[in-house]
Structure formats: structure tokens, C-alpha cells
Amino acid sequence: MIRIGGFLVGIGFTVVVLFSFIMGAYNFATEDKVGAPEYEFYKKPKDVAFAQDGAFGKWDLAQLQRGYQVYKEVCAACHGLQYVAFRDLAQLGYNEDEVKALAAEWINVPDIDPDTGEAIVRPGVPTDNFPSPYPNNVAAAAANNNAIPPDLSLMTKARGDGTAYVYSLLTGYGPIPEELTAKYPEFDTPDGLHFNEYFPNLNIAMAPPITTKDQVTYADGTEATISQMSQDVSAFLAWTAEPKMVERKQTGWVVMLFLLFATILAYFSKQQIWSAAKPKKTK
């Protein structure tokens, strides 16, 4: 009974799925194939190396400090970092007083006036998180052509190959390539959008944020090329996405070495124990 029932069920599913297959194959063969520029002209992130990459990678603290400066002077006009607190900046190599001073430079931290209960803004203190540039999403969309600039705290983890992606996006603006226009004459970048071949649908609502050399004057004197600023802010965003990354990999080495040692030990004790059970002739 079970076998007969099973046989019928098996044939049943097979027939139905093969029906789908035949219909699908027929459509596939007869349909005109319409390509999409988003598929053909979208580019994978550029190959770019960072100090924190790889199993032995470590943060380049000077680079993170420069990246912080780019974020503060350029990106913070539109993007928040809601999961990062000013006190976390101590991990970039700033001492306690410097962190206090850096926090106080952010003069738009929302709060409630303790006397009147009214909503106010005040300068930051180390325990505050980074303030958002807009009071809410409606205001953010209104100021940006209906696109909401996403919070950047987790950006490099929220995209495949995220750190390289941010770098490629920042340096990827340009004119629409001729091959694209030749193949898809109707493709266009609407007003208020900007062509960028590293953005999945090729037209992004963010105007190129880093456009000129020396847009930021680095405190450490590093030459501020477009590529340098883009790399620095990408590295900084890798840190905001996972401040514990380097600690994680360093812990990993200790754990792996311990496990390797323990496993080798376990192997030899297993061999020793099993040697007692080596096949002996029963005669």
C-alpha cells in the first residue's frame, strides 16, 4: 500500500513539475530576450586593499582618524551614525580629553531642557551617540529629492564586499558610457539622479559627495586626493560597522591554536586507545 501510494504521489509531483518545465521552456524559447542595462553595465566593486583586511589585518588608526574627519566634514550633512557613540572614538587613538572635545564639536544633539521640558539641541558629550542630520525620515526625504540617505553605521556590512563597495561608489561617478547608450538608447539618468556604475540600478540619488582634491584639509598633513579621502572614509565606515573586528580576529588566532593543540592531543589519545583493539587473530 505504502509503495503504491508513494508511486502515485511521486509520479503526480513529477508530472506537475514537468508540466511547469515544458511551459517555462516554451516561453523561454519563444520570448524575446530583453536585456537590462542594470545587469549588463553594473560593475562589481573595485579591488582595493585595506589595512584591516585578512586574518592578520589591523586598523590603521591614522587612516581611521582621517576617515572620521571626512565623515564629519562631508557625509554628516546627510548621513547619521546612530549606533556609534562619541566615547567609541577613544578606540581610534584619541585620549579622554580629545574625545570630550570631539563630542562637543557636534552642537546638534537633541535633548529635553531640564527646566522647561522643551525640545532643544546641545553640544555632545562622550556618552551620546552621533546625532542624525534630519529630525525624521520625512525631513530627510524632503531635503534629498525623495531619497532617504541611509544611516551609515552598518553600511559596509549591509552590502556585499562592503568596504570596497563604498570606495567604488564614491569614486564611481561619471558620464554614461557610450556602449550603454548605443545598446539602450532609451536609458537615461533622470533629473536629481546621478549615473554611477557601481550602484545596482546605475542611477543614485546621492550627488557625488567627494568631488575635488583637498576638499578636506587633513590634520595629519596627508595629501587629500579624491581616492585618498574615499579610501579613508571607507575604512572609517568599516570600523563603525564592526568596531570589534580586529579584536575578533586576534581572539580567533588564540582559539584556533588552542583547538589545534587539543585536537592533535585528542588524535594521539584516540590512536593509543584504539591500539588495544587492533585486530588480533582469533585463533
Partner: protein
Amino acid sequence: MSFPWARQYEPTNGFMKFLDERLPLPRLVYNAVGAGYPVPRNLSYMWNFGVLAGFFLVAQIVTGVVLAMHYAANAEVAFGTVEHIMRDVNWGWLMRYAHANGASFFFIVVYIHIFRGFFYSSYKAPREMIWLLGVVIFLLMMATAFMGYVLPWGQMSFWGAKVITGLFGAIPLVGEPLQVWLLGGFAPDNAALNRFFSLHFLLPFVIAGVVILHIWALHIPGSSNPTGVEVKKESDTLPFHPYYTAKDGFGLGVILLFFAFMVFFLPNTLGHPDNYIEANPLATPAHIVPEWYFYPFYAILRAFTFDFILSAKLWGVLAMFAAILVWFFLPWLDRSPVRSGHYRPLFRKFFWFGLIPCMVVLFICGGAPAEEPFVMISQIATAYYFLHFLVILPIVSSIEKPEPLPYSITEAVLGEDEDATLGATAAAKA
């Protein structure tokens, strides 16, 4: 139960004697995983994976309980509490990465465990009950993992929950009210998140209960073995402790090396980047995919693309559930008297060149976008999947001529067995 030659527990000191007479816990352990449990002496490393599954179940419970101390199941704050765990809780990042990758490793070891069962037909008499309980465990694991993935309340959490609960909407008549009842609303929201958290906390303990039954049932006939010939006498067995405790210990070390490598160096590789974006009911992700361990079943779900009497969606749902439910019937679909694939030439070919490639293809298609050629390929693989279990296996098992079996495990290990008399091998085979 055990074999008559199983060693008896002897308390070695006064305290153990006291305890054994009042609460025979030491005796239970001794008989279950100690020197009092005789096990076939020829088990391969394929027999390590049950213990490894048990390890990962415990690891999930331990890390999960710690995470639950810092997590809040509220749609407003859930995503933020997960980031709080990652950034502010001491070793919180380790707990979370260990839990997320632990789920993947739990599935890896259980898949190997199940496919070991397929190859050695471990599901056959007298082990049917072990097998049935195993499939129940697997279903519970899937439910637990699905609900766990919703908890961080990222984009894939939300949209995965929406797609999977939406499947219930395909059921005729009661579908839609059922879906609303399950979710506590029309779309996943606070009500759904809260009940998923509650159930995600509960189910692992239910799994632990079923695992106890699974192991209890295992201890009636004892483990099968790579020859599939049942234990006949003492020389066929070795005591579990120290032989298999040592072997399992080594196996655990090896898998933990892989596990630690993923947790510390590639912790997000098995996850989806979209889940680091907070859930947004207004923005649909480009490709909604479940976690990797559901890919084969997701491919079967999506293989049905045209209505055929019933709606395509309903066919997909039926096929997806049927794909796992057929495992329940395996003990009765496979009628071969021989267990091990090593002695079943035709069965073995269909296993290595049919079932395994079919699963790989389904896995790849399940993770790929729902586009050609993936859809067509997954349709062929889906057809093979059902044919394999429901048509090929029953037929092969009744027509194939098995190869000669060893008389006993002792003969298989030592090359000869003095008890084996001429003709006994043939008799054992029949």
C-alpha cells in the same frame, strides 16, 4: 536493553554506591555512553555526526540563553538591541556569531547524519523509530531556525517571514484567515516577532526532549555499522567508553576548528548582507532568499510555476512539505534486505550519481534568483527528487542483486571469523 555481554556498573566509592542505590544516575550514564554500552567495533567517522549534532544543540541553547538576556523582541528596538549585543555587551559579538554560525553547523552535521542514514539505510528495521524521531527533530530544527532568523528584524528577517508565512495563504478556503492568525496581523509585526521569540526559545527544549527519545530508541538495537550486518557476539563490539568517547572527542576537535574559523574569520559569509539593514515593510529586497540550509527546499517550492488544476503556489507548498515527509516512509519504500550501500551496486549508483547531484543542483538553484535557466534546472531536479525516493528506490530495492556480505563484523574487521561455517555467509544474506 543491551547485549548480554554488556558490562555492569560497579560503584567504585561510597558516595557513588550511595547515589546509585537512591538515584541510579551514574548507572544510566554508564549504560548510555559509558563502558556499559557495547558498540559495533567497525563504525566509521560517519558515525560521529550524531554526537556532534548533540554538541551543537547544547551550544545553541547556551549561546541562545545568553543572547536572550540582552535582546528585546519589539519591532521598534529589536534591530538596535542586536547591535547593542555586538558593540556594548562583553563578548556579545562572540555569542551572536557563535549562535548564528552554530545554526549553520548544526544543519551541516545533521545533513551529513541524515545522508549517512540514506547511504547505509539506517532507517530499516529494527531502527524505524529512531529514523522517524530523527525526521521529527529535523522538522523542529527547521521551524526553530526559521523563527530565529526573524528575530534580528533585518530586511531578510522581515521579508523571509512574509514569504514563508504567505505560503499558508495558498491553502484553499482557510489559508488567509490561518495566515492572519499565525502572524497576529496582516503582515509580520510586533505580534509576530513576539510569538516567534517565544517559540524560538521553547522549541530547542522540545528538540532536546525528542533527542532523548531518539537516543533511547537507538539503545534498543544499538547502532548499525558500515557493513549493515547486525552484531552477533561480543567480538563484534567494543565498549563505547573509552573507544568511541575518544573517537568522538577527536571528531569534535576537527569540527570545532572549522567552526572557530567561520566564527572568527568569516562570521557573516553564511548570512545575507541585507539583514544588516533594519526591516522596512516599504522596501522589498531585490532577491528574497532564506538561509542557505533551506535552499534545496526553497528550490522545490519555486519549481512549480504554472497552475495545474491547483494553483502553482499550492503545488509548490505541497511539494516542499512532501519533500521532507517522504523521509518518514523510507523504511517501507526500500524493501532490500541488505542495509549498507557498500553491498548494493545499483542503489549505490543512484545515491552517488542521482541523489547527491540532485541535492547539489537544488541547493544552487534555491540560492539563485528565480530566473532562467535556474528555474528549468530546478524543475528537472525536483522531478528527480520525487522519482528517486518514490519510484526508483522501491524498484531498485526489489530488483537489484546485492553483493556477498561478510558473515559478521568480526569477519569484516579481522578478515576471518572462526564461527563462520561454509554456507553461513549465504544463509546470513538471505
